[in-house]
């Protein structure tokens, strides 16, 4: 496929303790496909999210935790998990895809932090456009929630 490449799960030669970690990490659980688009944009289209409702709000989830403070990727995942009461864990491929999209739309900006413990961390900052988008997303969710509740939880008389 032109412009598309894939890589499959590798089996690196590692110690058994690390192997368990690798096996459990998201990047070894999946076959990740990275599409390098013509403009050099990277997206990770893999999704493993059970609920379309949740999937449709991932961008807003990310903006919400970035509204509190700038965070790097793993912090974003942890924050969303914590806010959901350990009920929802954002998968890393979805995270990177959303971050790319949000940055392209100028809802967030990224910058590299100081190299910490041997790795440089990429931090994300919400922009004023991102805050506006988040407010709109919250309003839309409230409207959708009302409609869904009326239909699903309402009475059955007269349809």
């Amino acid at each position: 496929m032109n412009g598309v490449w894939t890589f499959k799960e590798k089996k690196p030669k590692v110690k058994s303790s690390d192997k368990q970690y690798f096996l459990n990490s998201i990047l070894t659980q999946i076959v990740v496909r990275i599409i390098i688009q013509e403009k050099g944009e990277v997206c990770l289209p893999f999704e493993n999210i059970s609920s379309n409702l949740i999937r449709g709000n991932i961008d807003a989830f990310i903006l919400k935790v970035l509204q509190e403070q700038d965070r790097y990727g793993y912090e974003i995942i942890k924050s969303i998990l914590r806010k959901s009461g350990n009920a929802y864990e954002l998968k890393e491929p979805s995270l990177y895809t959303s971050l790319k999209r949000l940055e392209k739309e100028h809802y967030i900006q990224s910058y590299w932090g100081d190299e910490s413990l041997g790795a440089r961390r990429k931090y994300y900052h919400i922009t004023s456009d991102g805050i506006e988008y988040l407010h709109r997303a919250i309003l839309q969710w409230r409207s959708a929630q009302k409609i869904i509740s009326k239909v699903l939880m309402g009475g059955t008389k007269n349809g």
């Binding site: 990047l27 390098i36 864990e89 990177y96 910490s116 413990l117 041997g118 990429k122």
Partner: protein
């Protein structure tokens, strides 16, 4: 080079090198390192 770094490199072994993939590789590596150091193999229930 540590094994996690080697592992992340191996994920990109078939990818043509570019500044964008290098940045993505660094980002993935730092996030996986943070996850590993937090002691979480998977976050659920942690």
């Amino acid at each position: 080079m540590d094994e996690l770094k080697q592992y992340v490199d191996s994920l990109f072994s078939h990818q043509k090198a570019s500044s964008e993939t290098a940045d993505l590789k660094d980002e993935i590596y730092s996030n996986m390192l943070a996850r590993k150091r937090s002691g979480a193999t998977g976050l659920s229930g942690s």
